[in-house]
Subunit: 204 residues, 2 copies
């Protein structure tokens, strides 16, 4: 059994940025297989009666979060610029990420979109931005965009989001090792360790 970690993420989520940029290398070093699970935070937050991010609704925590992001990005050696729009809509790139989840270019595409949002303060929910990220990730642009906006793929993203809700996901990033849930970039290392140990125990 290969250790496996499900990684649930959203391009609008600032703490997902820290994880998207780090997770592939960390998982490789632990020998853990990643399953990329794009979902939409908007419907999850709406279910709580919120019309936007809790970092916007709760201004004290919001003020802190951007300071924390500066320090955490520096700690991980990542560039960071506070986005002038937050949280950014990300439906088109999330649909593409769902296609990418089964393709070799998926992780690189996700990193490019995250850099657009959190390093370069660019809007990400448009064809130009997504095409640029696909090109940089070495993916074919037009066929991928066509597949992304197919009814079938739109429905898959909705189903992912419903599944997240049903499993108790309340924010991003969230990780699952089997049914064990971990929330937040701060728990990435713990979740990888858990996945790694469980696979070892299974082999014995």
């Amino acid at each position: 059994m290969t250790p496996q970690l499900e990684f649930w993420f959203e391009f609008g989520s600032n703490y997902s940025y820290l994880t998207v940029m780090r997770i592939e290398a960390l998982a490789k070093s632990k020998g853990v297989d990643l399953v990329w699970k794009p979902f939409l935070l908007g419907p999850i937050f709406n279910g709580f009666g919120w019309n936007t991010s809790p970092f916007v609704l709760q201004s004290e925590k919001g003020a802190y979060v951007w300071k924390d992001m500066e320090r955490q990005s520096q700690k991980f050696g990542l560039a960071f610029k506070r986005p002038t729009a937050f949280p950014r809509a990300a439906i088109l790139p999330m649909r593409v990420a769902l296609i990418g989840a089964e393709m070799h270019w998926g992780p690189a595409f996700c990193r490019e979109v995250m850099k657009q949002n959190f390093e370069r303060d660019m809007d990400i929910d448009n064809r130009d931005a997504v095409a640029l990220a696909l090109q940089k990730a070495g993916a074919s642009v037009e066929p991928t965009l066509a597949a992304a906006v197919s009814d079938e793929n739109k429905l898959r993203l909705r189903r992912n989001t419903e599944q997240a809700k049903a499993r108790g996901v309340f924010g991003a990033p969230t990780f699952f090792v089997g049914e064990e849930m971990y929330w937040g970039n701060d728990r990435l290392e713990d979740a990888l360790e858990d996945a790694s140990l469980k696979a070892t125990a299974h082999r014995r």
Copy 2:
């Protein structure tokens, strides 16, 4: 200049438990002086329009928090039992902690109260529980209780809470290195590192 860290905490706060049990040894190993700052979370939460902990108000996050507490306690080698009452009122022990903040028995007293709440599932906001914790910490019981419930000391706790609010504190534990704020047990090590580096820079 000796590096200094302000530690703002609440006995009702589960993540404060993880920090109270760890902070004295960690600060000592880093050569950082601790300033213990008890305050009440209730008035802070009331200011946000909440009548209890966000872990109670938001049931999805609440369900996760107890699972996270189990795992985090195990990681740090701490016992943990989910309290049957949460968040527990803690006004009397918080008043005593304010006296203890300037006494040698303060940190041990705080650990005893936290063990009552999060290891032994005991109510903590009564004279018997507080007297027991004082005894175990090697403090004199009656004089300390008398000082704790003096009007002057009650006012000091209220002022700490007002100061926390004015400085942007929105939860516990919270740390300050000068005016640099850190939130959560997950940031304890970063905050200690910051305090330590700033003192070193100052000495140069």
